[in-house]
Amino acid sequence: MKELKEQLINRIKAHFPDITVENNFNYNRFDVSINKESIHSILFYLKDVMGFKHLSDTNCVDWLEEGEFEIVFIVWSPAEKIKIFVRTRIDRNNPVLETLDMIWPQLHTYEREFREMFGIQFTGLEAPDEFILEDWQGPPPYRRDFDTAAFAAETFFERPGREDAEDVREAITKLTGEEIPEFAKKYSR
Amino acid sequence: MESVLYNILGAVATFLLAFVVGMIYGGLNRKITARVQNRKGPPFYQNFIDAMKLASKRSAIHHGIMQHFGPAFIMVSSVMSLMVVPVLTHNQWFPNLNFHGDLIFLLYIMVFGPLGMALGAGQTGNPNSAIGVTRGLSLMTGFEIPWVMALVALMIQYHTTSIVDLMNVQIQSGTWLMFSSPFAFIAAVMAMLGMFRYSPFDIVGAPAELASGPISENGGKYLFVMMSAGSVFAFVKLTLYVDLFMGGADNLVILLVKTFVLYLIPVLYSLTTVRYRTEHAIRWFWGWPSFFGLLAILQAVFFK
């Protein structure tokens, strides 16, 4: 399998010399990182020429510290039984990418989700603004600088708990006369 | 004047009897289903509680005049067919309209209700209601064929279209028609499975995909009237079968025994089967039941 992966990497490198390859996996996978200008051409190349016909998944990672979003496309070749993670990074402050839904139509859905959840703008994506979140007015919620707990505390009512946060089960046993079962005792604080 | 009062009292008494018996049979159906499924099940009077609760709802909505009239149409159909079907053999108790209508009148007044309900369901604007109605009407074209074949066989064998006359035939000869015209009885009972709309022919209500179909927009008092009409109608159907095929009943106890035995057929059959698609149900009725209907007609023609 190693030879097959090397072969494939060489074939890709022949066309896209500026990629970074990570190939330290023991199983049928290797990773390819590329700049955002070439992402269309490499995906087209993988799909149409090299037979990576199947898009398994697409993810977005928020690298807050580095100020970048990373989008990962996982493609799979049914003939070679190899999957490739194709990564690209875009600027976090100006997250704009051209739409890719002409390569795999299912990317349309993923792009809408990224737009709503991370605020990445896809130029040329023809879809209504609202996708999953109805009437959403806050910042894109999957960004790591979005504090969900604070947002939730501010937006929704909270039911106040007891101040002391004691284990009340013993008090209850005293009241009702019930025994605490053996197995439950280990959960006592 | 006295006879009018007597008529009204008789009609009300018949209605109450049909209502109570129909409701209890509905409850027993639930109880039997539960026992077969190894459950305790609700009490046999559960349907009365449900009806009382529905009647005591404080608010109600309607989407227009036809939804308001729909339950009344169903009630007209149920009560009219109740008035035409003789409850007991000698008729001295509840004569009602027994001598004013015959079997073909009964066939037509019995479809009056479903059509009225369909109009009410149509006005709600709920697509589920309309789908349920189309299924129901399609199903009707299925089970009416064996049913009418069975009735025609009886009519031509005994040269009458009157229910009372058919009952008298059985009293005079001493043989129930289910024994002297067995094929007609089989066809009619198979059609009855469709008439009761229990599984596998519960394609009209279909709670899983149609959200109870035609009645999906009716609650409270509307549902109460529909439920009562359904109970009365169940009683009418059972009594009609008893009158036609099982020699009628001399008193209430015999009537209850006979109708209950008959009622067990659709109830127990429903427990063993799952739902058909509409087209399969229609084809089912055009298959063996209609074949038995045909045999019944042949028997009536050649072995008078």
């Binding site: 109805e134 009437d135 959403w136 806050g138 707990a149 937006t155 929704f156 909270e158 | 190894n38 009716n218």
Partner: protein
């Protein structure tokens, strides 16, 4: 017809008895709790012996059973369904999520306290509550109905403005028809 106070009381007792023993449940399977209902209804626990039965549409239902967490998106539908039900009607909150948010206490789109948005008659706690707990919840609801204390709908009608304000706070684009019964 019946104006006399005592006879009204008798009528109320009978009606409440009927309501108590005939509970048609509209199970709004918003969250994971819906999976606890099949065992509740079937042979093992048999809720039908208490008169509890499924209803297909809100028009016919008495109890709105909210099984689990409510996102802001589903809250809108739940309110709609509740308003389509017919008086008298009851709400049962099912699981910790409806009480205080449960494991979703810090989620950005899940409400935490259901009774600020809809009048809850009975809460069933647990994550998940087992069928025994569900049955005991129904028994509690029946108790309250029999005593005439399960008047959530009345409360909702009287404090409609307060409920509306809370609901509109998290549903800014309010397009629903008015509550009119």
């Amino acid at each position: 017809m019946i104006n006399d106070k005592n006879s009204q009381k008798i009528v109320d007792i009978i009606q409440n008895w009927a309501r108590q023993h005939s509970i048609w449940v509209l199970a709004y399977g918003t969250g994971c709790g819906a999976i606890e209902l099949p065992p509740t209804m079937t042979s093992r626990y048999d809720a039908e012996r208490l008169g509890v039965r499924g209803a297909a549409t809100p028009r016919q239902a008495d109890v709105l059973l909210i099984t689990g967490y409510l996102t802001t998106k589903t809250l809108k539908r739940v309110i709609r369904v509740y308003e389509q039900m017919q008086d008298p009607k009851y709400v049962v909150g099912f699981g910790s999520c409806t009480i205080n948010g449960g494991m979703y206490y810090d989620s950005y789109n899940t409400i935490k306290v259901l009774d600020k948005y809809l009048p809850v008659d009975v809460y069933i706690n647990g994550c998940m509550p087992r069928p025994e707990a569900v049955l005991s919840g129904f028994a509690k609801l029946q108790e309250r109905i029999a005593e005439g204390r399960a008047e959530g709908a009345k409360k909702y009608k009287e404090n409609l403005e307060w409920y509306r304000a809370n609901q509109k706070k998290i549903i800014p684009n309010w397009v629903m028809p008015d509550y009119n019964w």
